[in-house]
Structure formats: structure tokens, C-alpha cells
């Protein structure tokens, strides 16, 4: 930097931490998050819900159901799938008032969140009256649409039989290498082995032995993962009131964001802590 670099503007920075701020990212969305005008006209709003312990949020955005841009048949099909999926996971929305007729319709897009770990310290800054107000951000979540109703539907169509030669569903996820090979597959292997070499029989037997031996080790990690998933599924949703940017509540929160006291805060660390803390870590 040259020494002649002059300061044009110098604005004070203020810090506050009253609120619990989060950043919500929508990687697949490049438009503002709004309900379509047709849905808003019929009274639907964006809703949200949270599982606090698992730190998962869901935002439900009503979909545009005009006939020009919405396929009703598929809507009903998926709606049924979604209802079944909800019942399975015990997250059915209670009080389904205002449902269109008797059949459920897929009338909303569900965005599910994933927490993203922070690198460094994230702060939200707003310039207000020539002052920069900073506020720490506690979490960052990325939202993507969940299509779990498709799982249910594909499961159903798979169960219906193998005569769907042109169905879109695939055979499901490949079998876990840690879990014991399903009995039918093992039997098939043995049958094939007797038809061929004696060596083949040994190989297949060894494989199952290996699997039995490592079963406990490998699946510990899997057990933990499954436990986490199950805990998350067991936790129930808590509904949240979603206040858009222009609502009063949002304005109120924004007021709380700003720092109001103008005293200077005392700093107990200095710039070397950036390096020394990194060395310790």
C-alpha cells in the first residue's frame, strides 16, 4: 500500500449479538423465495418447521397449481405418495383442513436443510447511517427440495411386480457390503458354484466368512450413522411461523439486529492470536 493512500471514509464498526442469526442458502434457487401469486391469492403461505435437536429445518413453499404450469394427474399421484411418506415417517401435518377435495395434491415444494460447517467466523454486516453493524452468525443451512415421495412411489411400483418392463424405477440401492448377504443371493451363488469349478465354491465361502468376521467392525460406523438417522426421524417437527422480509416481525428482528450502545468494547486479544491459535489447533 502506498503511503499516499488516503482515507476517504471511515465508518465505525459496532458489534452486537442479541439474536440467533442464521444464513439460509438456496443453491438451486436464483429467484426470491416467494409463494407464487396464484397460491397467495388462494391463501397459501410459506411455512416452516424445525427439528431442533437434529438441527434440520424445512421450508414449504406453495407451488403454482395453475393448469398452464401444473400437471394435475401427476400432482395427485405425487400427493398420494407424499401423504404415505408422511404417515410412514410420522410427520403428517395435523389438521389437514383446506385440502382440495378428497384427494391429496402435491401443492407445495419442501426444502430441507443441511447444516454447513463454518470456516472462520461469519458475521453479518449491515451499513446503517454510515456505521457498519456486525453480528455473528450461528449456523449456515443449505436448502434443497426433498423428493422423498418418489421413494414411496417407486417402492410401490417395484412391489407390484416385475412386469413393468418400462417402469422408471431401478432396483433400489445396491446391497450394503457390511450387511450379511441376503440368503437368496448366497444360495444362487452356491448353485452356480456347483455347476462350475471347485475353486469357485471356495471363493464364495471365503467371502461369506470374511463378511461374518468383519461384520461387527465395519458396521459400527454404520450403526452410529443409522442411530443418528433414526434419532432424527423420531424427533418430531416443531412448527415455525415464517415471517417474510416485509412483515412486521421481520422488521422487529431487524431492529434488534442493530447495535445501539455506543460505548467502546474492551478487546482482550490482539492480532497475534490468529496465528497462535492456529498453531495450537
Amino acid at each position: 500500500m502506498n503511503e499516499q493512500d488516503e482515507i476517504i471514509n471511515r465508518m465505525p464498526i459496532r458489534l452486537s449479538n442479541r439474536l440467533s442469526l442464521q444464513i439460509h442458502q438456496f443453491p438451486l434457487l436464483s429467484r426470491p423465495l416467494q409463494a407464487p401469486p396464484s397460491a397467495e391469492a388462494s391463501g397459501k403461505r410459506i411455512t416452516a418447521r424445525i427439528k431442533p435437536q437434529s438441527r434440520v429445518l424445512e421450508i414449504h413453499v406453495p407451488a403454482d397449481t395453475r393448469t398452464e404450469v401444473y400437471n394435475s394427474e401427476r400432482g395427485h399421484e405425487f400427493g398420494k405418495g407424499q401423504l404415505d411418506d408422511d404417515r410412514e415417517k410420522n410427520q403428517e401435518r395435523k389438521g389437514g383442513k383446506g385440502r382440495e377435495g378428497e384427494e391429496p395434491r402435491l401443492a407445495e415444494i419442501r426444502l430441507r436443510s443441511e447444516e454447513i460447517p463454518h470456516r472462520g467466523v461469519q458475521m453479518l454486516g449491515i451499513v446503517h447511517e454510515n456505521e457498519l453493524h456486525l453480528h455473528p452468525i450461528s449456523a449456515t443451512h443449505q436448502f434443497r427440495p426433498t423428493l422423498t415421495y418418489l421413494d414411496i412411489l417407486s417402492r410401490k411400483s417395484k412391489r407390484r411386480g416385475g412386469d413393468d418392463s418400462d417402469s422408471d424405477s431401478d432396483d433400489g440401492p445396491p446391497p450394503d457390503p457390511d450387511e450379511p448377504v441376503p440368503v437368496t443371493a448366497a444360495k444362487k451363488k452356491e448353485k452356480k458354484a456347483t455347476a462350475g469349478d471347485a475353486k469357485e465354491v471356495q471363493v464364495s465361502a471365503r467371502r461369506t466368512d470374511d463378511k461374518a468376521g468383519n461384520l461387527s467392525q465395519l458396521s459400527n460406523a454404520r450403526k452410529e450413522m443409522l442411530a443418528i438417522i433414526r434419532a432424527e426421524q423420531d424427533e418430531s417437527w416443531q412448527d415455525l411461523q415464517f415471517c417474510g422480509m416485509t412483515t412486521e416481525e421481520a422488521g422487529h428482528s431487524l431492529d434488534q439486529f442493530f447495535s445501539y450502545r455506543s460505548e467502546e468494547l474492551h478487546c482482550s486479544t490482539d492480532v497475534t492470536t490468529f496465528l497462535t491459535a492456529a498453531q495450537k489447533a
Partner: protein, 390 residues
């Protein structure tokens, strides 16, 4: 034989096929390669090729117009063939343009965005009569400015035939709330020297491909950002910026009373220090064991230099450089989650990302001071040779 027809054989000629005929390939060595340039699909050629094929349909401007019409789901105008014979091999889409139209799609015309929307909840009435709302979907703040530049050369297309609506591809986004966004074309006639209006508006240039320009423009745009944020007094709270500080964030405490000062400085900033990426993050509201000291006050200054640099100067000689981080192209919300009242309030959309890093000179000087301070200073030490045992 192709060899004879191609004359001397070694001279490549443009033929329509790259397939090597057996006569051209010699087992040992030389293969006579025919280099065929792949001709880009020229509109005039396509129109010329396709027109003679349907003999029953006279090649006229009507066909082009019909193919051009992009009504809802009507494709190449097949549905309208009342008096027309059923066999229609009319080229549709942009290639249906005849040579007269070939120039139009190369012209740069920006889709005219709706007026910039500060409050995105402004709903547009949908005209149910036409079936489509004929209104654009709202765009997030960052992109509006790109579209404000509008060249006034409107293309006048041939008159629409009965029921056919001619729509510029760039205007598709305007047709309906759910319509897809058109790809924004770069201006070819961009003025070399940007006028002051353009610099103010040219905020999204960080995404442009030109790297040299981008660096300069980043500083410029940052300059304008802060100025704009300052002077736009009416809406100054709408520019939310994300600052990524290095961890650990300096610990601050209020210096109201002695008891406060002697408290262990567990501030939200220092909480984040200890988090490795795979450790659970605790928010202030959800964790019951962390001490949350409420902070509110002045911590330093942000200095804006004429060269475009930004520095944050905090207490205890902490100097940090502010630079623009890579800007995400998607939507981001800053949100207040209030678990006590079960409320999720959107504070706004993030406008810019900034990366904050310690100023290296200040950091190194401070490290030197720290190192030298920890050793006892003997008189006349400067004249002695110091042995580095680290």
C-alpha cells in the same frame, strides 16, 4: 472413386462425410486424411435445405413466421394445420428464420426486467384470461442491475399470422411467473469507457470471465458498494453483507464495571474458535451450558481508501484487510430463528460476501514484537548475534 474426384489426393477438400473409405487407407503409413470442417448450422442453409423437401408446402415467409411462433406448447405450429396438408416439415424454432431474420437473433436485446423490486412480496396479478400471467418472475437483487441496460433497438418482426404470437426468446422470462429465465447475452456494443451510471450498476461483474478486469472491477464495485450503502439513506438497511473473519474472532467484553472485566471472556466469537468442522455447532439459544455475554458496542473502524482498499482497524492494533469473496449466484437469506416464540423471520437477502484477513504487515510486526518481548532484553543486545534455536 473418391481419390480421383478429390484431385491430387493430398489436397484436403471439404466433403460432407468424414468416413474413411477403404481405398483411402493404406496399411503402411500414409492415410489420406480428408479434413472436413464442420460447418456451423447456418440458418440460411437450413432454411434452404428444408424448404425444398416439402414440395406440397410452398416455401414462403408464412412458414417461417409460423415456425417462429412460440405459443404454449404448440411447437412447430403443427396444431394449426387446418387448410394445410398434414405433412409439415417446417423448420421450427430459431432455425426457421430465413436469411432476412438471421440477423435478428444475433442482435443484443436485453429482456426488459420489471422495475427493480425492493420488496419481493409485491405480487403481480395474473391475468387469467390469457392463461399466463404475462409478468416476470421476481429476481434477486444482484441480477436486476444487469438487466437495466436496455438497448432500444426493438426488433420488428413480420406481422403475426392468425393466432401466432411472435415472442423474442429473450422475453420468455416475461411471459409468466413460472417462465424460465432467458440466458442473458453479453452486449457486443459495450462502450469501452463506462459511464458513471454503469459503474454504479455494474455490480455483478465479479462473475465476468475477464480476469484482469474483474480484479479491478472488484475493487471498484466494492468502492461503490460501500458508497452506495452509505448514501442510499432510504434503503440502507437492505444491503446485507457477509463478512468471513478468520477464527478466532477477537474477544470483546463490555467495560461497564469491574465485575464484567474479570469475567471469563466467553463471547460468541470465541465460542466459534474451538469448533473444528465436524463438531456440532451450538447456537446461542439451543445450548444451555455456554455463557452468552451480550455485547453491544463499538469495536473499531472500517477505513475506506481511495485506492479501493478496505481495512478494519480494531483495538489492540488489530488490522484486517477486507476483500470481496466469491459471490454466490443463488439466493441467500439472513434469518433470525427465535425458538422461544417459534418464529423464523427473514431479515433480508444477502447482497455481498467479503473476506476478511489479517493485514500481513501488522501481523508480522506483532509476531516479532511478541517473540522479542518474551525474551529478556540484555543491555546492548542489538550488537550481539542472536542464535535462532526454534
Amino acid at each position: 472413386m473418391s481419390e480421383t474426384t478429390s484431385g491430387s489426393g493430398s489436397k484436403p477438400k471439404a466433403i460432407s462425410s468424414l468416413a474413411k473409405r477403404p481405398s483411402e487407407v493404406t496399411r503402411q503409413g500414409t492415410q489420406k486424411l480428408k479434413f472436413v470442417p464442420t460447418l456451423p448450422a447456418r440458418r440460411s442453409k437450413d432454411a434452404v435445405k428444408i424448404e425444398p423437401v416439402p414440395d406440397t408446402i410452398p416455401a414462403s415467409s408464412n412458414d417461417r413466421g409460423r415456425g417462429r411462433g412460440r405459443g404454449r406448447g404448440e411447437g412447430s405450429g403443427r396444431g394449426r394445420g387446418g387448410p394445410r396438408p398434414p405433412v409439415e416439415m417446417v423448420a421450427s424454432g430459431p432455425f426457421a428464420l430465413g436469411p432476412a431474420m438471421a440477423g435478428t437473433s444475433s442482435s443484443r436485446r436485453f429482456a426488459q426486467a420489471a422495475t427493480p423490486i425492493p420488496a419481493p412480496s409485491k405480487t403481480k396479478a395474473s391475468s387469467l384470461g390469457a392463461g399466463l400471467s404475462q409478468t416476470a418472475a421476481p429476481k434477486i437483487k444482484r441480477e436486476e442491475h444487469k438487466l437495466e441496460k436496455d438497448e432500444q433497438d426493438e426488433e420488428i418482426y413480420s406481422d403475426a399470422d392468425e393466432g401466432v404470437e411472435i415472442i423474442d426468446m429473450e422475453n420468455v422470462g416475461q411471459m409468466d411467473w413460472m417462465a424460465p429465465d432467458s440466458i442473458i447475452k453479453e452486449k457486443t456494443k459495450r462502450p469501452k469507457k463506462e459511464d458513471p451510471d454503469a459503474t454504479e450498476v455494474n455490480i455483478a461483474n465479479a462473475l465476468d470471465g475477464d480476469e484482469d478486469e474483474a480484479d479491478e472491477k472488484d475493487l471498484e464495485t466494492m468502492f461503490d458498494d460501500f458508497n452506495k450503502m452509505n448514501y442510499d439513506a432510504d434503503n440502507d438497511s437492505q444491503y446485507l453483507c457477509l463478512f468471513q473473519f478468520p477464527s478466532p474472532f477477537p474477544t470483546f467484553s463490555a467495560q461497564l464495571s469491574d465485575t464484567m472485566q474479570t469475567d471469563a471472556p466467553v463471547t460468541p466469537g470465541s465460542k466459534k474458535v474451538t469448533f473444528a468442522p465436524d463438531v456440532k455447532l451450538e447456537t446461542e439459544d439451543l445450548s444451555s451450558t455456554s455463557e452468552v455475554k451480550e455485547l453491544d458496542g463499538l469495536i473499531g473502524h472500517l477505513e475506506v481508501y481511495r485506492s479501493g482498499a478496505r481495512k478494519i482497524r480494531l483495538a489492540n492494533g488489530i488490522v484486517l484487510d477486507v476483500s470481496p469473496a466469491s459471490q454466490p449466484s443463488f439466493l441467500e437469506h439472513a434469518v433470525h430463528l427465535d425458538m422461544k416464540e417459534n418464529k423464523l423471520a427473514i431479515l433480508g437477502e444477502l447482497f455481498r460476501h467479503y473476506l476478511v484477513a489479517p493485514d500481513i504487515d501488522a501481523l508480522l510486526n506483532a509476531m516479532d514484537a511478541l517473540d522479542s518481548g518474551s525474551q529478556t532484553v540484555l543491555a546492548g543486545e542489538e550488537n550481539l548475534i542472536r542464535m535462532d534455536i526454534t
